[in-house]
Symmetry: C2
Subunit: 245 residues, 2 copies
Amino acid sequence: MAETARQIADDLRSRITSGELDAGDRLPGEPALVTKYGVAKETARRALTLLVTEGLAVRKRGSGTYVRDFRPIRRVANRRLAQDGWGAGRSIWGADLGDRQLSVVDLKVSETAPPSQVARSLDLGEAESVIVRSRRFVVEGEPVQMATSYLPAELVRESAIAQPDTGPGGTYARLADLGLAPVRFTEELRARMPSPAESDLLALSEGTPVVEICRTAFTKEGRPIEVNQMLLDAGVYVLEYHLDS
Amino acid sequence: MAETARQIADDLRSRITSGELDAGDRLPGEPALVTKYGVAKETARRALTLLVTEGLAVRKRGSGTYVRDFRPIRRVANRRLAQDGWGAGRSIWGADLGDRQLSVVDLKVSETAPPSQVARSLDLGEAESVIVRSRRFVVEGEPVQMATSYLPAELVRESAIAQPDTGPGGTYARLADLGLAPVRFTEELRARMPSPAESDLLALSEGTPVVEICRTAFTKEGRPIEVNQMLLDAGVYVLEYHLDS
């Protein structure tokens, strides 16, 4: 029986990957699958759930199951962090999105004691505080990412980095103004299932994982100047890195 | 009620992240949670399931739920692809694993027509075939990754790349012997839930996502020389990239 749900899912999957069923198309419903494969309604439901869980399909309440149609965001790490982007006053998101609409919501800026892991990454002493910038990014109406940046308060407290609006080129341009331009970055990635709270904040479909990216930015002297903890809806992102041997 | 399961999960999660509950420790069982929180058995079970789904805990049949204890594999893309590693005859896995035991299983080598996406990535014409090397990697008894490499058959057919044993330094060292050393790489990452077949092959715990990495390797002339499609157990990997601005 479980095998039957798999086989139905395999059939539908190959119709999606071949392009026969296109993004946004409605998949056959449970009654149609019951008729076509001669299976129980529960088996048909299980087959559709498998595709939702793989991120290939989404359920719309009261309407059916559809081939997922959100155009993926291609995040090219090297391009977005290139100085000729943010140095020219552009947001580092411009490189990812082209002309798609981005909004930043729930922006909070505060000064506080850093979490212990962030303190270690930034080489901060016991008494040193950080400026924390947290926000969610919404693309074409879908929340796609949460991000929390930490910077040494001592260094950036008097700059626009401690204000809601960081100005043209954002945080990295302001760091450059302070003689602290980031020139080297480390990104650490993990993928996992979200906690229920994360699932709510990113409005994740059932069975969609998240990617955590922890980026540390370093000045040319090798000083860690920012830690940015990002949480991405894995269903909407393709992450691209370019490397030399 | 759902809120209660979340709160219990929150409590347990903070005991794990604080280190009070260590890797390999047994979590309180359903009866203990029922007593402590005054909830139904089903609620206690749901709380534990949330932690399993986040990859923080694993269920052992008939024994209980434990804090996940597999030491993560830190895959540093830049280091593993550095020529001074494989150029000296070492496997690119050496950089990831230190002294942990790696075995390669289910190795298959064949010559065949490429999937259309691979043909495009490798700039191959209609009639050109590829050497395909597929295998699974097992670390300390756990399958952690499946990988399938494709290389233009025309160029590598006569080399050890078409043999099960590629010799010291592996495929990249043999490409260098042929004057086709890879010097530049693109890695494209996606995270998603596995298909049932993938879940079986990687022996994934319930609720564990996979990371797909598609790597293309280029020679110094810019010729694409290998496409490697990898599928990683997201629960065991930390992926690290170093970038310059």
